[in-house]
């Protein structure tokens, strides 16, 4: 059996708890799953619910969470190092794509200007040329 990265360390049964197991996988289960019974320490229900909601906010959108002032993960090296790396990579890729699109668009616009085909951009030029012709008369 193949266990990919993020999985537990097979073949040992119940690899849970091993450092190799993805923390996200563990949190997803111990915080959000597992039988809920009311303890004497009441924090368990209310606050874990809150924490789960916060995790969900991260899951839903980092931006949304930041917008409502929840940014506790940013000070945490575990989340922020990973988060930052992903964010930077993503931003660089997006910039590259946008750059390439812009360069293509400029090339197209320049090519279009050189062609005498009537495109919206050329309309003004055409009128201007007409005026010039009038002046020459």
């Amino acid at each position: 059996m193949t266990v990919m990265g993020g999985g537990s360390s097979s073949p040992q049964p119940y690899g849970g708890g091993h450092q190799s197991t993805n923390l996200g996988d563990i949190l997803e289960r111990v915080l959000d799953k597992g039988l809920v019974i009311a303890g004497d320490i009441q924090v368990n229900l209310l606050d874990i619910e809150l924490l789960t909601i916060k995790l969900r906010l991260v899951i839903a959108s980092l931006e949304t969470a930041k917008a409502v002032g929840i940014d506790w993960w940013e000070t945490d090296p575990w989340l922020s190092s990973k988060g930052k790396r992903a964010e930077i990579e993503g931003a660089q890729q997006d910039l590259e794509v946008e750059n390439r699109k812009l360069r293509d668009r400029i090339a197209e616009l320049e090519a279009a200007r050189r062609e005498p085909v009537a495109e919206p951009v050329e309309v003004e030029d055409a009128e201007f040329e007409d005026d010039e012709v009038d002046d020459d008369r």
């Binding site: 059996m1 959000d32 019974i37 320490i41 899951i59």
Partner: protein, 262 residues
């Protein structure tokens, strides 16, 4: 038990728990893990200082991801040790009582719930299957193929290409979602129960491609090889999806249907 200490509950099992079953693990407060029995059930517990695990302390500690990671891994390790020994119901993190008597009260009061859950999970193991699709790459491939014939250099051609990109992305997303549905249905055939959960954010999973399936399955132990083979076969069958199998897990996701009503 003194007023300074509470009882952290890891799991509940129907079997007697011999000392050797949990002698290799220590609890969230590095305490020895022990058993509290009542009503034919055994709660696996540890005595924890309320200075760290009381209401006030938990409130702030749960916000500290480093603390949370250690506690979550330890909780999971103890639960896993119990499940290795006998079928057990994992309790959600941070279930704390003031003393053993209160734990016994709960075992007696909730006996029917624990019995029902134990019946469901006995002889079965939880497995996680996540499927990822690189929607952007699939869409880009489709546009390359479709857009190669279009003439370049005009605004119309640009708009056509842009439109093709957008619809290719939609198509790729729809196709990936359809395959995830099919995969989930297929895996259900090899398991006793299964459910889909919201996808994990790339920040938590550390991946950039889209998670299209976050499934968790309760599989008969006798069929665990069959399930693993089904996942392996799906890797080839579902071209374009990358599959990740995690587990075996204690049956966290199948511990109780009434989790909303404590």
């Amino acid at each position: 038990m003194t007023a300074d200490h509470g009882v952290w509950v890891y799991a509940v099992t129907g079997a007697d728990l011999p000392d050797e079953a949990v002698s290799d693990v220590t609890g969230v407060a590095r305490e020895a893990v022990r058993a509290v029995s009542a009503a034919g059930l055994t709660a696996v517990v540890g005595t924890v200082p309320l200075g760290e695990f009381g209401e006030e302390a938990l409130r702030s500690n749960l916000e500290n991801l480093e603390w949370l990671e250690t506690v979550a891994r330890t909780h999971d390790a103890v639960v896993s040790a119990v499940v290795r020994w006998a079928p057990a119901i994992p309790l959600r993190l941070a279930t704390v009582y003031l003393d053993d008597a209160r734990v016994c009260d709960v075992l007696e009061a909730r006996r029917a719930d624990f019995d029902a859950a134990l019946t469901l999970v006995a002889g079965r193991t939880e497995w996680g299957v996540k499927a990822y699709a690189d929607v952007d790459a699939i869409a880009a491939g489709a546009v390359e193929t479709a857009g190669s014939g279009a003439e370049k250099g005009t605004g119309t051609a640009y708009l056509l290409r842009r439109k093709a990109q957008l619809s290719a992305r939609e198509d790729a997303e729809r196709a990936a979602a359809d395959r995830a549905d099919t995969l989930h249905a297929l895996l259900l055939q090899h398991s006793a129960a299964g459910r889909r959960q919201p996808p994990t954010d790339p920040t938590l999973s550390g991946r950039r491609d889209r998670m299209v399936l976050n499934g968790t399955y309760l599989v008969d132990d006798a069929r665990s090889d069959e399930f693993a083979e089904a996942v392996a076969a799906a890797r080839t069958q579902f071209d374009g999806l990358e599959l990740e199998l995690t587990g075996p897990w204690p049956p966290y996701s199948f511990a109780g249907v009434d989790r909303g009503n404590p």
